[in-house]
Structures are given as structure tokens and as C-alpha cells.
Symmetry: none
Subunit: 214 residues, 2 copies
Amino acid sequence: MTPPVFAHGSLRLYLLALLEERPRHGYELIQALSDRFGGTYSPSAGTIYPRLSKLEEEGLVSKSTDGRKTVYEITDAGRAELDARRGELDGIENEVTDSVRRLADGVRAEVNGAMRSLRAELASAAREAKRSATKAPASASGGTSSTGWGGDARAESSRAVHEIDLVLSEFRQQLRTDLRTHASHGRVTPESVTLLRARLAQVRADVMATLTDH
Amino acid sequence: MTPPVFAHGSLRLYLLALLEERPRHGYELIQALSDRFGGTYSPSAGTIYPRLSKLEEEGLVSKSTDGRKTVYEITDAGRAELDARRGELDGIENEVTDSVRRLADGVRAEVNGAMRSLRAELASAAREAKRSATKAPASASGGTSSTGWGGDARAESSRAVHEIDLVLSEFRQQLRTDLRTHASHGRVTPESVTLLRARLAQVRADVMATLTDH
DNA sequence: ATCGCACACGCGATATATCGCGTCACAGAC
DNA sequence: GTCTGTGACGCGATATATCGCGTGTGCGAT
């Protein structure tokens, strides 16, 4: 039901990036992630610790105990891995931001539903007024996707896809900055939105044309 | 903040009573308590484990490890203590039930409050959707000031910015999916990247123009 | 009687680690 | 080219343990 916030290799890389800033222990990383993504998303311990274990097993981080804390530090191998994939990082940040926003929207809807059932339950409880009932939560997961790599003949294609990702990322960043600037003095009208939507649809069609035309 | 559910010696005794039924491990006790009191109240690990340690220290329960679980069993001394204070148990059960009820009322109030603000937010979102999507047949006249909240223009601008964010997000998602599909059979050339870059720059310029043109 | 204060207690926050489910990507089978 | 299984992965649930804050309780001093 709730789609994962981090795509397949993303958490691994992001953790490495956080540890590059400075050594941290597990709980600290959980908080750091929670902070960076508005508190709406908090990675669970079951997400962080297995990943850290894996990273240590791979030799990308080293572990050392400090009282009841377990401090993780990035190794040279870790820094190398990070350097090699530095470009993916900003893409990940944007992706996660998107996921979190979708998640927040989902939560809003869920709360609506939960409220309905709660109201029903309270009404029922008032009617009976002597017996109690039990409740049960729920959970699941879903999915998104992202970067693909690894071929040989398709290397160029992959590179191109990845670069498009970067271009998109940059474009979004720029437009956001532009809008923030102009929104403070002067205003952004719905017409801008409409225009943007139309133009992007056109761009998409044109780009697709270059793909199918050969 | 929230008043304790269990009065001073109550948890200790209740734990003993639960262990008299059968040996249990810590987490099991947490769940048992959560079950008995309607799920509204879940004692935290920080409540249970120190108490269990204390009980063991006093020799009222004995501890034994089973895999990653720590099973607690009542001792003769524990049964003696329980027999001596059997009378208090009913009182405790009632007391706790009352506490939980009060707590549930508090939650209900809180949720109600949260719902109010949520409703407001949803209403706002609905207004936004209506304003930008529908080209409203009549009704909407010019006068934005006087009644209603001040800074309507600012709010509209903010809403527009948010929506642009959505459009960007969606666009990126779509393009990524498109590329993914076409990248498997057929390929993505650097020309597509170049084209995309150029077209996006143009779009950005055009959108910016709608902002400064007024 | 009552004042006050050490001590026990309840509990959320802090901290760590594993298990099992569902999903996704990738490789090899076809 | 499509189908498939399998392994890695994200993540909630399970499981345990400690720290520190606020409060209530009981006892000795007043």
C-alpha cells in the first residue's frame, strides 16, 4: 500500500553521503533522514540497521562502539564508491522529496478514512455502552523505480537516460528557484501553470518522437 | 503531560498476574496489555523492561533466554506476593480501565481538533482545484478584497507555485517511464538529451515571461 | 500536623538488532 | 523478444534494553 520512499539502491547511497559529512550512529541517521524530509517520513530501524550492516560487510563503512552507541564511519572504499556515483545523489534527493509529498497526500486521505471508521465506532460504542471491541491496524508496500545501469552495448543509451535525469533535475531546481524569487514580489498566476503544462506536454511528445524515429 | 495509566505499584502487580497465567516474554506482555485495554493504550518498552528487571532482582520472577526472546516465569515467591495482594487486582483493573477511557476521550478530542484543521486544509485544496481547473461559468467577479481573508493574491500565488511543482513532478515521472520503456528495445541518443535541454530552456524562458508581463 | 526530600515509579525518547512480506530489477531460460 | 525465478532491497513488525524527566509516596525532621 505505502510505496517505498527510497528506490532500490538509493538508501545505500544516501546513507553513505550522510556518513561522508561526519561519522554517525544508527539512530542519528534515522533522525537526520527524518529531519531532511519534513518529519513526514521517518525510516524505521528495520530499514537503517540492515543497510548499515551490509555497508560494513562491503567494507564501505567501519563500525566502532561508543558506550551503547555504534558509530559508523565512511572508509576510503566508501568515499570511492560515493565519488563514482556522486551524480545520482541530487536525483535521489528530488525523488525522495516527491515520494514524501505523495506520501503526505496519502496520509491526508487515510486520516479521512480513519476518521469515518472512528466515528462509526464511537457511535456503535455509544449504542452498546457496555461491551468493548478490538481493533487491528494494517500495512503493506508498493513501488517506484529509477536508475538503471550496467550494460555494455546499451551503455550509451543508459548514459543518455541518466543525463536526461540530470537535465530534468536541474530544470526543476531552476524553475523552483525562479518561482520563489518572483513569488515574493510580483505574483504567479494560474495562467503560468496552464502554459507550463501545455508546453511540457509538447516537449514530451517531441522527445518521444526522436526515440521512435529510427 | 498525559497522566500515568498505572498507579504506583500497579504495573508491578499486574505484570505478576499476567505471568501467573503463563510464562511470557517482554514484547508478549506489551501486546497482552495493549489487547486488554482496547489497543488505545500500549505500554512502551521503557515501561515494561525495567519493571521486569526489578521483579527478577526481587526474586519474584525468573528469566530464561529462548533464541532472541527473554522469557519470564513467575517464582514461588512471586506467587506468594500475588496471593497476599490478590484483592488489589480488581481495583487495579477498574482503575486502569478508567484511565484508558479518559485517555481515549483525550485522543478523541485531539483527533477532532486535527480533523478541523485538516478539513480547513482540504477545503483550501478544493478551492485551489476549482480555481485552476474549472473556468467557472459565472459567479466569480473581480473584487478580491474586503470580506474573506486578506492576502488572497499571495495565497493564489502560493497555490500556483505548488501546482507547478506537481506538474513538474508528473512530467518527470512520465518522461522517465517513457524512456524506460523505449530504452529496452530501441535506444536513447544524445540528440534526445540535447533537444530536451534546448526545449526546456525555452519553456523556462516563456514561463518566466508570463511572470514579468504584468 | 506539615514540610521536604530522597527514592521509586511510569513513561516517552533513545538505541540497537532481526524477521518476514511484498516488490523490483536483472539474468538466464525459452 | 518474452517469460520467469531469484536475489537484493525497503520497511513494518517484532524484540530488547537504557536514559532522563516529571511526579507521586512515604518517612524523617520540624
